[in-house]
């Protein structure tokens, strides 16, 4: 995770301090977002749809689950398929897009380790809370259950879709910005570097 990363394409995220502020700000921002989804609509399914829409979009601000090799989001893209596609292109001798990202072994290990910690944390939260939640939900009257389920599931889903990225943002050391030569290096069809 070495190249300069920017939040919303504007705010550099090289220092760990800024990234920690981003993580805290991201989770605090969910409070008004969820409150807005909840109180703006009376119908449960519309609330759920609004929350679902926000859950789909907001984690992209952190990065990680993007399928673009030119993404400058704070967390570099996770999907392996991107890098396999790059490796295939390089093997075939095709030009690689300037500024495209390549994950090295450290980045792969950091990505996988962040997912391991995130998964373990959510696993224990679900395991320990599930019986209590099921008991309390079963005691609620039927009309109140869907709302209660949404209230219980929302924090878990927010964590589930963002915890690996926030772990990376919180734990990775300060980044050294790459030079412009390094970011624009590419291969011509003949294999010679420009």
């Amino acid at each position: 995770m070495k190249s300069p990363r920017k939040f919303l394409g504007l705010i550099p995220m090289e220092t760990r301090r800024r990234r920690c502020v981003l993580v805290v700000g991201y989770y605090l921002a969910w409070v008004p977002v969820f409150a807005g989804c909840w109180f703006s609509f009376d119908n449960l399914f519309t609330r759920f749809l609004a929350f679902y829409f926000c859950l789909a979009l907001l984690p992209f601000l952190l990065g990680g689950h993007v399928f673009s090799e030119r993404s400058s989001a704070p967390v570099r893209p996770f999907p392996d398929i991107l890098y396999r596609w790059q490796a295939w292109q390089r093997l075939r001798g095709y030009d690689r897009s300037p500024g495209s990202i390549i994950l090295d072994e450290h980045d792969h290990a950091a990505r996988d380790r962040a997912h391991y910690f995130a998964y373990t944390a959510i696993f224990w939260i679900v395991l320990l809370l599930a019986p209590e939640v099921v008991l309390k939900l079963s005691r609620l009257p039927l009309p109140q259950r869907p709302d209660a389920i949404l209230l219980v599931a929302a924090p878990l889903l927010i964590l589930f879709f963002s915890l690996p990225q926030t772990i990376l943002l919180w734990t990775e050391p300060d980044l050294e910005p790459e030079t412009s030569a390094a970011t624009t290096a590419g291969f011509s069809r003949t294999g010679a570097r420009p």
């Binding site: 759920f48 679902y52 290990a109 391991y116 373990t120 696993f123 599930a130 099921v134 589930f160």
Partner: protein
């Protein structure tokens, strides 16, 4: 990342994973029945706790002795001692030290599991919402209950299942082969 049991071949491990998830689907039916008829104790005794126990015992990952070694780096040993244990007593210390490959495989299995669960969660949410939009309200509690329970089952066991399904069989070496290699 797997335990040192030569009898647990890749084929047997895959059958174990398939049987585990088949049993989970049956337990999902029990869970739906219990929750639908408000028999929470039936749910806890008939579905949740058996699933929990089976997950811990059958697949491993949390304790020594399962097909998958514990995910924690050292389980059952005194990991705080800085000195290497000489093990002069000859007794097994129960130590479970993961090497770099084990850690990489473990972490990658969790990454893949999380990607799969993420995709499954999206599909589940869309199905629930579609049921609501197309007015299948009567089926919604059952659909949501079954889906949530199956997601729960997957979340509890997916990394272990991935490891059991994908890890190759450990190479088995006879003593003759070992002494031949040493010479």
């Amino acid at each position: 990342m797997l335990s040192d049991n030569p009898k647990l071949t890749l084929r047997k491990r895959r059958w174990m994973v398939a049987a585990y998830y088949f049993a989970a689907v049956l337990l999902a039916a029990v869970a739906v029945y219990a929750l639908h008829f408000r028999h929470v104790s039936v749910f806890l005794l008939g579905a949740y706790f058996p699933l929990l126990l089976s997950f811990i015992i059958v697949l491993g990952g949390l304790r020594l002795g399962g097909p998958v070694r514990p995910f924690s780096r050292r389980v059952g040993s005194d990991a705080t001692q800085p000195l290497i244990q000489l093990r002069l007593s000859g007794r097994k210390s129960g130590e479970n030290v993961l090497d770099e490959r084990d850690i990489a495989v473990r972490d990658h299995a969790h990454y893949v599991a999380m990607c799969m669960l993420r995709f499954a969660t999206w599909i589940f949410a869309m199905v629930v919402w579609a049921f609501a939009v197309f007015h299948r309200i009567a089926w919604l509690p059952i659909t949501a209950g079954v889906g949530a329970f199956l997601l729960f089952v997957a979340a509890m066991s997916l990394p272990q299942a991935i490891l059991l399904w994908t890890e190759p069989d450990p190479a088995s070496e006879s003593p003759a082969q070992l002494t031949g290699a040493a010479q």
